[in-house]
Subunit: 305 residues, 2 copies
């Protein structure tokens, strides 16, 4: 997603923000310190932070809120990765090319490290929202709570982890994608949009975009697993082996390509509608293009197989 | 601590608040639902909520904040218990007379349940602080973040869990009590005090009280483990077996009784100073009395042994 952030100063701000907005305390217990230091040293693509930043910093009134809020969203995501990789969840070996922290520092340190990111993230959200009028901060905070709470990503993750035990039909797989992937895109796009005072129409369009981008993003991820994409950040072929939710395994390759195209065309329609509004949402097209490029790449991989 | 809350309507408000301020969403994944429902059904003594409520509701301006804030503090505590009991931390079997949720619903559901309580707690804090002037909400939110963050209870818990690997001297054991027990009492007393606009003198006295109460409380807990107190909510005799931090095991019974009395006399001095101030802090003496009664009970247990 390098195209999304050609203006490098912003990227540097976000990279620096990621590694400095959580301060490892003096006298930190060694294993906890290890988890925090290793995690802060590998920020990943910062896609979520970049998107939120784009929404926020264009708006004069929320410029001060842009950095802390964007990093907060990224810290929530970081915490979710630390926890998702634990033995009782995805039992992962590597993340971002590094050995997962729980395999070096232990599970307890990893859970506590995740909590440190979550605590800091809520404080940064608090800081970012403090200067806003309540007409903006109230709905933004309510949506943030919904996305991160028992009705949002927590339930999505619980359905994901316990997939083997429940219904394994298409609707269940789609519900998990909505609960996890879609919810985190809503957090990234719609919460910042509410903070900048987006109109009801803009919010509705961004909600729709989150649904179809999230679903498309998850489908691409499922294709990567099935097609054995070596560029994937995760070990592939694990979904079948571990009976994880995977739409491609559920409905087959052909239907999945069709579903993917349906999601992309709905996103296209939303982007067209957004382009007609006064506020500039054009930066969103870069993400659409990135996802379309991924589709093309995975289709060649599929045909080569 | 029944004496602390003789006025039953408040207790009922808090019990009801505890079981209703986190709503289990429709379509909740079954294991997550189990963790949340079982935990909400066993609120425990609600000591932290009661103390915070006493500080807050006496103040007219923070009356609306009293219930959500008190329950938020209790939810943070609940989350910490859910996580502390996990196999990678204390590996507990029972809590509040019930089988630990992770032994019924699994570790993943338990971690996610803890996150649900944490997310809801931050939202309730937000709600409670929203109506306060920034001169109060800012320092209160900053202390809350400090108590719950990497420099506070998270580091305390990490030192606790990894105690076996580090220094096992008296200072390390005391540092763990400061990091965990003292920090959570500060959260319970000092954060609400800042919310009601307590003076610098009051805050300093409550900080000191938190230090000595927290240390005394932890010592009493350590005595319970060593003396094999059957009334304890936890399995006793585990600290020696598992090489857990325990001041009584570290400095012996006699020195521990002396330390305990030193803490109690410092608390007494603070309570005397607080009694001279215009604001009514007299409800705090009930907790002091409760702890003194515990000391008497444990001393007889010690002499009988």
């Amino acid at each position: 997603l390098k195209e999304l952030f050609k203006d490098r100063p912003e990227t540097r701000d976000l990279q620096q923000g990621y590694s400095t907005l959580l301060v490892i305390p003096k006298h930190c217990e060694k294993r906890l310190e290890g988890v925090l230091a290793d995690t802060l040293a590998h920020p990943g693509s910062l896609t979520r932070a970049k998107l939120a930043y784009k929404v926020l910093h264009k708006n004069f009134e929320t410029r001060d809120a842009a950095l802390p809020m964007s990093i907060a969203i990224e810290y929530f995501h970081t915490a979710s990765l630390l926890l998702d990789d634990l033995p009782c969840m995805d039992d992962a070996y590597t993340r971002r090319g590094q050995t997962c922290p729980h395999r070096i520092y232990g599970e307890a340190a990893c859970i506590l490290g995740a909590l440190a990111f979550i605590n800091r993230a809520y404080a940064l959200v608090w800081q970012a929202m403090a200067g806003l009028p309540q007409t903006r901060s109230k709905p933004a905070a309510a949506l943030l709570e919904h996305c991160l709470g028992a009705a949002g990503v927590i339930n999505g993750q619980s359905m994901d982890v316990h997939f083997r035990e429940g219904q394994k039909d298409e609707e269940s797989v789609a519900a998990i994608a909505r609960g996890k992937t879609v919810t985190l895109i809503r957090l990234t796009l719609v919460v910042p949009a509410l903070m900048v005072g987006a109109s009801a129409q803009e919010v509705a369009l961004l909600d729709k975009l989150s649904l179809h981008w999230g679903s498309a993003y998850q489908l691409l991820d499922d294709f990567k697993d099935v097609l054995g994409d070596v560029t994937s950040a995760k070990t592939s072929g694990r979904d079948f082996e571990l009976q994880r939710p995977n739409m491609v395994l559920c409905v087959g390759l052909n239907t999945s390509w069709q579903r993917l195209d349906t999601h992309f065309s709905k996103c296209e329609a939303v982007l067209t509608s957004l382009a007609e509004l006064p506020r500039d949402w054009s930066f969103l097209t870069a993400l659409q293009q990135h996802l379309l490029d991924e589709r093309t790449r995975l289709q060649s991989l599929s045909q080569a197989a």
